[in-house]
């Protein structure tokens, strides 16, 4: 297995998911479902790393990817004035994908996984709602909050099939991507509810530094830890390691420069 094979496998997986959820009207008006490469990679990680993988694993992995598409669709709904046809159908796209993920797992008669994943969606919805609920908490708690939002469903899938050894890569990887996205928004002069919540928590929780500094630091630290995890891991194959390094633009010299800054 090499990096090219990993890339091809992810693309084939994406095609299978698209086939499972295809709906002409939704595609035209709500767009394709959100199937981010890093999430697909982490879902497939045990397989890509040579673990035993059968049809049930694959079908279940598809249903978890569909959950992410469902939740991502609802994240696209505007807080106010969502009455355009495109927004209306995006609401329904999310509901449709939710129904499909349940149907896929019901067909597999995997009731335990339905329970575990729905439990996770409860947690994720609660965490997403926290930015609208005037919640103020420490910076570390906010990091845990976004980590749950980003990675819980994949972790539950891995846990169900006893692939827990991959958890730390999933948690760290998806946190890094979220932090990068948040910082990209800042660069573009935009904000998010999450950033507003961080700013509101800053005074009350007496953050050691302004939230933006902490966010940058967290990203740098997580990248270093990811690099360490990758280099020390006996679990990951060479191809998977290299793919992860490329996926997150991890460079050894980056690690060194960040450490010097600190």
């Amino acid at each position: 297995m090499n990096e090219q094979f990993i890339q091809q496998t992810i693309e084939q997986f994406r095609s299978k998911i698209l086939m499972s959820v295809r709906h002409r009207t939704l595609r035209i008006h709500a767009g394709e479902p959100d199937l981010r490469e890093d999430r697909l990679f982490f879902l497939l990680l045990p397989y890509l790393n040579g673990e035993h993988w059968n049809d049930e694993h694959e079908q279940s992995a598809i249903s978890v990817a569909v959950i992410y598409s469902a939740l991502a669709a609802h994240d696209q709904i505007k807080e106010l004035n969502a009455s355009s046809k495109s927004q209306q159908l995006t609401v329904l796209a999310g509901d449709y994908y939710s129904g499909l993920y349940y149907q896929m797992l019901a067909r597999l008669s995997n009731i335990d996984l339905i329970r575990s994943l729905s439990n996770g969606i409860i947690d994720i919805s609660e965490k997403k709602a926290s930015v609208y609920d005037n919640v103020k908490q420490s910076f570390e708690k906010w990091m845990e909050t976004i980590q749950t939002i980003e990675s819980l469903s994949i972790e539950q899938f891995h846990e169900h099939f006893e692939f827990v050894g991959y958890h730390s890569f999933v948690r760290r990887g998806l946190l890094i991507r979220r932090l990068e996205n948040e910082l990209e928004l800042v660069k573009l002069g935009k904000s998010s509810r999450f950033q507003e919540s961080l700013a509101e928590s800053e005074n009350e929780y007496d953050f050691s530094h302004p939230w933006l500094v902490l966010l940058n630091r967290e990203l740098a630290n997580e990248k270093i830890k990811m690099m360490e995890d990758i280099s020390q891991s006996h679990l990951l194959s060479h191809a998977v390691r290299q793919f992860l390094v490329d996926l997150y633009n991890l460079r050894l010299n980056e690690q060194v420069s960040v450490m010097r800054e600190r």
Binding site: I77, K78, A82, L92, Y96, I111, R115, S118, K128
Partner: protein, 324 residues
Amino acid sequence: MEKMKLKMLYSDMRSDLDLIEKELEIAVNSSSDLLNEASLHLLHAGGKRIRPVFVLLAAKFGHYQIELIKHVAVPLELIHMASLVHDDVIDDSEMRRGQPTVKAQWNNRVAMYTGDFIFARALEYITNIQNPKAHQILSYTMVEICVGEIIQIEDKFKLDQRLQDYFRRIKRKTALLIASSCQLGAVVSGADEKTANHLKRFGYYVGMSFQIIDDILDITSTDKELGKPAGSDLIQGNITLPILFLKDSPEFRADLEYALTGNMTEDERLALVKRIRESDAIEKSKAISNRYLQKALKEIDALPASLAKKSLRDIALYMGKRKF
């Protein structure tokens, strides 16, 4: 008054329905204050709870155990609730059952997360049922409901639809979930397949009749009774059965087209609603609703005599005649 009548019809199941109500409150309990408040806000706004009622009554044709069947009755109401929260975003509705909607009280995004939360709770709850068939029935229903809603949006503002399009739409929008409520009640309580199928078809026909009545009431009720302007369906572009009966009438065509432009004044709306009420479209629609009702009653005729059978019949008749 209407709610009183309904309560009387439910009187034999009072204690079990009280239990379901308490379970619903527990089910929507969240560690998020916001989701807790939004879900309870919705729950306390009321509702007829017809889906749990049908689950319980259908379960009486098998081995009835409230501690088991509550795991079906509660999620079905939760799924209905979750769909209402999202529907209010789609329809941009400010009020429901006389209360501000979740999206009006908070915002659309909070409504999204509230719906997702309630929906996930419903699935978590129903996983107490280990019978895979129950999950296959419910998941199929949920997907079909969404497909129905997607078609409804596609068909919006299209006056030239066939009756068949309307019936397919309301089948998915309403009838399927009621049919599944009846079928699931029977399947999970271990009723035989023939009985479960009769109950499923009963639910389907009742659901069709119920939705047609709902569409009629949108025109014949007052703004106050509805908690929203009469004729809202038409204003929002939803073409219902009474409108389909009038769309080719030279007296109505131009006015209906004008109503769909969204430029109607309040006076014009009230005048058009009044004319539709006075037309024969209402009676024609009622006749079709009644035909579905008769089919529903015929389905339960085949079932053994029992108190549950009488209750199903009474509730179906009530729903076919309700005025609000």
